[in-house]
Amino acid sequence: EPEVTQTPSHQVTQMGQEVILRCVPISNHLYFYWYRQILGQKVEFLVSFYNNEISEKSEIFDDQFSVERPDGSNFTLKIRSTKLEDSAMYFCASSEGKSYGYTFGSGTRLTVV
């Protein structure tokens, strides 16, 4: 069964450093998403991406964050100057269309120290 692949599975970084989280969505999906989940808390929407541009973003997705689809397969989330409160599981998801269910990756656990 097709799956969304995320790398790395775990990233430890020092406060103030930049990190890039990588995702390979399902190949025939058109919509891509980043979500975040702080331990024990709700899944939080960060950003959605369609047709090579951001279609929607949340208040969390400020200038510290950016997304890119550098080639036909990868979808990346960059966090500049990480803060302690950025520590969370970051999930990438993709869907065939806006109304379709999402397929999530297994997540990247980001720990900022």
Binding site: K42, V43, E56, K98, S99, G101, T103, F104, S106, G107
Partner: protein, 113 residues
């Protein structure tokens, strides 16, 4: 702000028992999705319901979308330890598909052998 409230927040029952968890809102949703999430993993889509009053079955799981499209329930018959996980509902607000998913906080379900 549109909210999805899930209840109960936590449920622990014996194998073989039946249970129902709820996802409620004062807002109308054009569709609603149920996911199950296991620790350290991304949410996995179980079902999408679209029509008011719709009932969908997935083996021992029965999902219902309220007639007014404001609520949904998940009923599990003869629960098994493999059903253990965090059950999340996520709704697409409004009457078209242009809105972002609204997520509930989840029901943590433990099935004891």
């Amino acid at each position: 702000t549109q909210l999805l409230e899930q209840s109960p927040q936590f449920l622990s029952i014996q194998e073989g028992e039946n249970l129902t968890v709820y996802c409620n809102s004062s807002s109308v949703f054009s569709s609603l999705q149920w996911y199950r999430q296991e620790p350290g993993e991304g949410p996995v889509l179980l079902v999408t319901v679209v029509t008011g009053g719709e009932v969908k079955k997935l083996k021992r799981l029965t999902f219902q979308f309220g007639d007014a499209r404001k609520d949904s329930s998940l009923h599990i018959t003869a629960a098994q330890p493999g059903d253990t996980g965090l059950y999340l509902c996520a709704g697409r607000a409004g009457m078209d598909s242009n809105y972002q998913l609204i997520w509930g906080a989840g029901t943590k379900l433990i099935i004891k052998p």
